[in-house]
């Protein structure tokens, strides 16, 4: 769910950026307006109104999500993403927050200009690592049909340029379901430093981590059919795995020729989401605030608040208890309120939250472990590690969009 919010927000922002400059040139505006109207990326679309050339395949209830097939891509849908967040520690106890995402967009066929260079698919990668005093970040874009980005099924591989998520099951595995599985996997990527004190400049961070599945995949919403708004108009197919052990190495590559590279070992807990849809929010959506938490009693909590213009905020979430019991949270049994606003990157952001779930005796304060965790992407947003205190302790991630 959280990643749907991210992507819908990204898409809406993208269209807003487009329309803001298009407003300067009215002739140009007409051109893109037509695209917006036909793309299905910004308009709310009624079920069954699908036109293959313009509107992506619709999300409907009772779709049986199957693994490993559904780990792969669903190109008939307008948007899709594979999203990993992780809280890590090195041997000295220094903490790190890691995010790696591969997005896929479908562009309407009539505008796609299918050539031997491009099909109707577009990929975007985001990767970010935060320590308490440094921030490494990069984004990448690529077209389908070129060959430098995409998803392969056997063995499973998610990639954009040299950023690579690859199934790491034994090469001798005879069962295809093992090699087509999302986990276990190795993830490698490298990203440049964008913010650090002068004395700690490390120009590039090379990340190489192994991901081990420790618990089952969770089908969000109704068996993976995830409703996104109060009126049920927005929905996606959505599953997660909040039980992943992550361990590996960070290598800091220096910019100066006379300085040596250095490596450290890191390990921690990761959270994975995969979501795809063609039904997204419209320009009435102001943004959303999303949390994913690993609590110390073994339970996992995902909660978000969607802010819609002229409507009450839409709050929902999922609690997975240590024994695997899954509970859908709604505004009736979940309270999610910002408790402190702090200025980051010239905008006020709610970096502290109070989360209350009386039914499960959860009353916790969630606070970012570092304020400066703003991702300066083409469409920028906040994505950072948080700490938990109160009735439970723990760690997790906070995402804020639309600020």
């Amino acid at each position: 769910m959280a990643k749907l919010n991210k992507v819908t927000w990204l898409v809406v922002m993208l269209l807003l950026v487009l329309s803001s400059f298009l407003a300067i040139k009215t002739d140009f505006f007409d051109n893109v307006k037509a695209q917006v109207q036909t793309s299905g990326m910004a308009n709310r679309l009624g079920a069954g109104a699908s036109n293959q050339d313009t509107i992506g395949q619709q999300v409907v209830a009772n779709y049986p999500i199957r693994f490993p097939a559904d780990h792969g891509e669903h190109p008939a849908f307008d948007i899709e993403w594979w999203y990993l967040t992780a809280n890590l520690e090195d041997e000295q106890g220094n903490i790190y927050g890691l995010q790696w995402t591969l997005f896929r967009f479908r562009t309407p066929t009539q505008l796609a200009d299918k050539t031997r260079w491009s099909n109707d698919q577009l990929y975007m990668g985001h990767a970010s690592v935060n320590s308490l005093d440094s921030h490494w970040f990069a984004e990448k874009f690529a077209r389908g049909e070129v060959g430098n980005a995409g998803v392969k099924l056997n063995p499973l591989q998610l990639y954009i340029d040299d950023w690579n998520w690859a199934n790491s099951a034994s090469v001798s595995a005879s069962d295809a379901t093992e090699t087509q599985a999302l986990l276990p996997a190795n993830l490698v990527f490298q990203i440049p430093l964008i913010n650090a004190p002068k004395e700690q400049k490390h120009s590039v961070l090379q990340v190489s981590v192994a991901l081990q599945q420790q618990g089952p995949f969770i089908l969000q919403g109704d068996k993976g059919y995830s409703i996104k708004s109060a009126d049920g108009a927005y929905a996606s197919y959505y599953y997660s795995n909040p039980s992943i052990d992550i361990a590996g190495q960070f290598t800091f590559v220096q910019d100066k020729a006379d300085q040596q590279s250095s490596s450290i070992a890191v390990k921690g807990k990761a959270w994975f989401d995969h979501e795809w849809t063609s039904q997204l929010v419209d320009r009435q959506t102001l943004g959303w605030d999303w949390l994913s938490l690993h609590l110390d009693d073994g339970s996992k909590l995902m909660a978000f608040r969607m802010r819609i213009k002229g409507q009450a905020d839409y709050i929902t979430g999922t609690l997975v208890q240590a024994d695997g019991t899954q509970t859908l949270l709604t505004k009736e049994n979940l309270s999610l309120k910002p408790s402190a606003w702090i200025e980051v990157n010239q905008r006020k952001l709610p970096l502290s939250w109070q989360v209350n779930i009386p039914q499960f005796n959860i009353n916790i304060a969630v606070k970012t472990l570092k304020n400066e965790q703003w991702n300066p992407a083409l469409i920028a947003y906040y994505e950072g590690m948080v700490g938990v205190s109160g009735s439970h302790s723990g760690k997790g991630f906070l995402e804020l969009t639309g600020y």
Binding site: V17, F21, D27, N31, F141, V146, D161, Q190, S203, A257
Partner: protein
């Protein structure tokens, strides 16, 4: 108060005198206008060229330092190569594809020069830090936003506003949406996306669009290269090294020509422009000087009256200087607008010349009107001040003296000695530079010295030559003898105007002989070198050898490799060994043609073009190490011949065709030898293979005609410049004549009193001026020939590393004489016509 009043009265008097001095005023304003517009045009062209290569961007992308290209055309750079390099982590690479096309609006061709259509993988570029940095720093947010929009969604293309304007004008359409209706390569071709204007000089003559739109328009296009958008720092160098090490064998990493290097390359061009600007300045100085002289002479009665009324000389000069300042202001305003228009008109030719000579993209710069105005105004003011000095001195003298001074013979002798010393010094200086200097700027100075030396010699000999002519004319042609005598008097008073004409005539003869020689050499070279019956341009993969053999046609593949030699990329070309091609070889230097050819065909010797020999200082018999064409093994080769290769910017080495391997070398040209029937049968076979024979199979005679048409079009601008120079010189002469006609009034009065008709007296006047011009032309001829020799053997040699034989065609010289005299006759006809309308009483009332 008295002073103020006298200034005021004189200013009023001047204004009132305008009614009676209209012609002189028009001449002065025209002179200033020509000067400022010419200067503005040169400055705008210079500035635009500089601005476009100083741009750090390449096709709108910032900080492109290197690019990856295919080593040869045989194995092209592919999409898979791009993806593989990206997968290795080289995300800084951005693919681009470029090709040249014609654009049509409906059935009408709207671009004279082919437009470069360039597709860039913008989706890949927008995430790069260097690109995003540019967007943050760039004030032109609209352009950047448009780029974003392009990359993600809209079907648009970008080009410079000037190009869009030009295309719209060419379509002769007032329809503002013309740029949405352009089709590619034929009226029924693919429609271009809507053109959006981006005011970025790096765009040049290009239309830039996203690569997906490019491949929709050009489905069979190839990737031209992968641009490297690196960040600064050591890490970038390490990444470039790593990239070079991991490249597949068929690709190579090359540095892009930086702005600084391009600046170095184009400095000769700027020097040429500077020389042109200076020439323009000097020529305009002549005409302004003459025009001021003319105006002051027309005003002389008024000035004398002013003096009699007690207005000081200071007031007279001050007010006239202010008047000239205002004229300058007015002329600058209009002149700059005209100059910009002129620069815009010639910019396609300038762009084409620069792009082909230096392999750089030249676009349209933005010139600030204010800064241009300041430059032009200050230069024209300095010029006018200089031009004022002499006439003002003469007027000052005229207002001071009451009677004419007798001629000073001692001063005349001193003047003659001075001229002789100047002429000899300049001749010596020119000789030294041409023989020992290799810098272009020094050679241009040599050209200036030669022309000025000629001027000095002309001034020195004018009276003697005219006296000689006078002696030759029989006694019975009394009127003509008188006329020639008057010419001698005229020549001493119209030195500056005659010099201007001499300069124009010398440049004209020099340039024309150079172009004529170049044309003749090119025609003869092409005629010999294009030895086959037909030429086929084909890049496809079909092997045509067997098909040609079936039809009895001798098919010679022209294979090529790009190789490195002494740090430079040079061309390795195949040359057929058949008898036809043996006869087709045009040598610049060879010891024994037969032996050289035998050594060449036996692969024991190679031919190099002049460009190679001059650049690397290679001579006949030298041994050089080059990779063998097919195996790439470094081998020593003897140079057995140096050959002509006109107009080729590349240094080239010729090898026998059998040493090439078609597996390694690219081939796009085939030479065909066969009868018409055989060629027709071969054509039919090609049609079956879907090869477009209409555009790719060209008969040699047609190819020759096409080449010469292109040649003539290229040099059209030179012809235009020649006529302009002559016009300016003739205008200067006309101003001088009007002034001098006053001095000739006593003689004219005498003739008229003796019963000579008005017509005869005007014919005699015309004869005098034409005689002066003819003498100047005779003097200009040897200097023009020398100028042509320097242009070909010194300037062309050092600038382009090739030369051609100087051909002196008497017919061309006579043609130049005829054109020059016609232009002069046309211009001086105006003042003589004015004079002829005067009644007799005015002619004989010379003592006013």
């Amino acid at each position: 108060m008295v002073i103020n009043a006298s200034y005021f009265y004189f200013a009023r008097m001047l204004l009132q005198s305008y009614r009676h001095t209209k012609f002189s005023l028009v001449m002065l304003l025209s002179a200033l206008l020509i000067a400022t517009s010419g200067l503005s045009a040169v400055l705008v062209i210079n500035h635009s060229a500089k601005q476009s290569y100083e741009q750090e961007a390449t096709y709108l992308l910032p900080n492109v330092s290197h690019q990856i290209v295919a080593k040869n055309q045989h194995q092209a750079l592919s999409k898979d190569d791009y993806a593989a390099l990206k997968r290795l982590g080289f995300s800084e690479l951005v693919a681009y594809a470029t090709s040249k096309h014609q654009l049509y609006q409906g059935d009408k061709l709207v671009n004279k020069r082919r437009i470069s259509l360039t597709g860039i993988d913008l989706v890949s570029a927008i995430a790069l830090p260097t690109f995003q940095q540019k967007m943050r720093n760039d004030q032109r947010a609209q352009a950047d936003n448009n780029l974003l929009g392009l990359a993600f969604s809209a079907n648009v293309a970008f080009s410079h506003p000037s190009l869009i304007k030009r295309l719209t004008q060419a379509a002769s359409s007032t329809d503002s949406t013309v740029n949405t209706k352009l089709s590619l390569d034929s009226p029924a071709g693919q429609l271009l996306p809507e053109l959006q204007a981006i005011d970025d000089a790096s765009l040049g003559n290009d239309i830039v669009l996203d690569i997906k739109s490019y491949f929709r328009l050009v489905p069979n296009g190839e990737i031209s290269g992968l641009l490297w958008l690196g960040q600064s720092g050591n890490n970038n160098n390490a990444r470039l090294q790593s990239l070079a090490a991991q490249l597949p064998a068929h690709l190579t990493l090359i540095a892009m020509t930086s702005g600084e290097q391009q600046g170095e390359l184009t400095k000769s061009f700027h020097l040429n422009l500077l020389a042109m600007a200076l020439l323009m300045f000097v020529v305009c100085l002549f005409i302004v000087l003459n025009a001021v002289n003319l105006l002051l002479n027309a005003r002389m009665p008024w000035l004398k009256i002013s003096r009699q009324l007690g207005i000081s000389r200071g007031a007279i000069f001050f007010i006239q200087a202010v008047e000239l300042l205002l004229f300058n202001l007015l002329a600058c305003g209009v002149g700059i607008v005209l100059g910009m228009y002129l620069a815009n008109l010639v910019s396609p030719t300038v762009q084409a010349t620069l792009e082909s000579l230096y392999n750089v993209t030249v676009g349209f710069g933005n010139v600030s009107f204010l800064s241009l105005f300041m430059q032009v105004f200050s230069i024209s003011l300095v010029g006018s001040a200089l031009a004022l000095m002499l006439p003002f001195r003469q007027v000052n003298l005229a207002l001071n003296q009451t009677k004419t001074l007798p001629p000073n013979h001692h001063q005349h002798r001193r003047w003659q000695t001075l001229l002789l010393s100047i002429a000899s010094s300049l001749a010596l200086f020119t000789l030294l530079i041409v023989n020992f200097a290799s810098q272009l700027w020094l050679l241009l100075i040599a050209v200036a010295c030669l022309i000025l030396g000629g001027c000095a010699l002309l001034l020195l000999s004018y009276s003697s030559v005219l006296a000689l002519i006078c002696r030759v004319i029989p006694e019975r042609l009394l009127l003509f003898r008188v006329s020639v005598k008057q010419s001698i008097a005229l020549s001493s008073k119209s030195k500056i105007a005659c010099c201007a004409f001499f300069i124009a005539a010398t440049s004209n003869i020099g340039m024309n002989l150079m172009v004529d020689s170049f044309r003749g050499a090119t025609l003869s070279w092409l005629d010999t070198r294009l030895a086959a019956d037909y030429y086929l341009y084909y890049k496809g993969e079909q092997d045509l050898t067997d098909i040609a053999k079936q039809e009895g046609i001798i098919l010679s593949k022209l294979l090529e490799n790009d190789i490195d030699y002494q740090g430079l990329t040079i061309q390795q070309y195949s040359y057929p060994s058949t008898e036809t091609f043996k006869n087709a070889m045009v040598y610049y230097q060879v010891e024994d043609k037969e032996q050289a050819w035998q050594a060449f065909t036996a692969n024991q010797g190679i031919f190099v073009n002049q460009q190679f020999a001059f650049h690397f200082n290679a001579a006949l018999g030298d041994s050089i190490n080059l990779p063998e064409p097919s195996t790439e093994v470094i081998t020593a080769y003897n140079i057995v011949g140096i050959v002509y290769d006109f107009g080729n910017p590349s240094k080239q080495v010729l090898f026998p065709v059998q040493t090439f391997s078609s597996a390694r070398s690219a081939s796009s040209i085939y030479a065909l030898e066969g009868s018409e029937q055989q060629v027709q049968a071969f054509k039919n076979q090609l049609v079956k293979l879907n090869i477009d024979i209409d555009n790719s199979l060209i008969k040699t005679a047609d190819l020759l005609a096409m080449s010469m048409q292109t040649f003539d079009r290229t040099f059209l601008i030179t012809d235009g410049l020649n006529v302009v120079t002559l016009l300016v010189a003739a205008l200067s002469l006309a101003c001088a004549i009007i002034v001098l006609s006053k001095d000739m009034k006593p003689q004219n009065m005498l003739l008229r009193s003796l019963g000579v008709s008005r017509l005869t007296s005007q014919i005699l006047a015309l004869f005098q001026y034409l005689l002066l011009c003819i003498v100047a032309l005779i003097f200009a001829s040897p200097f023009g020939i020398m100028l042509s020799w320097i242009l070909i053997n010194a300037i062309n040699y050092h600038a382009f590393q090739w030369t051609y034989p100087l051909q002196i065609n008497v017919f061309t010289l006579l043609q130049i004489y005829a054109v020059s005299l016609s232009v002069v006759l046309l211009i001086i006809f105006i003042p003589t016509l004015r004079a002829s309308r005067k009644p007799l009483i005015e002619d004989i009332r010379w003592l006013n």
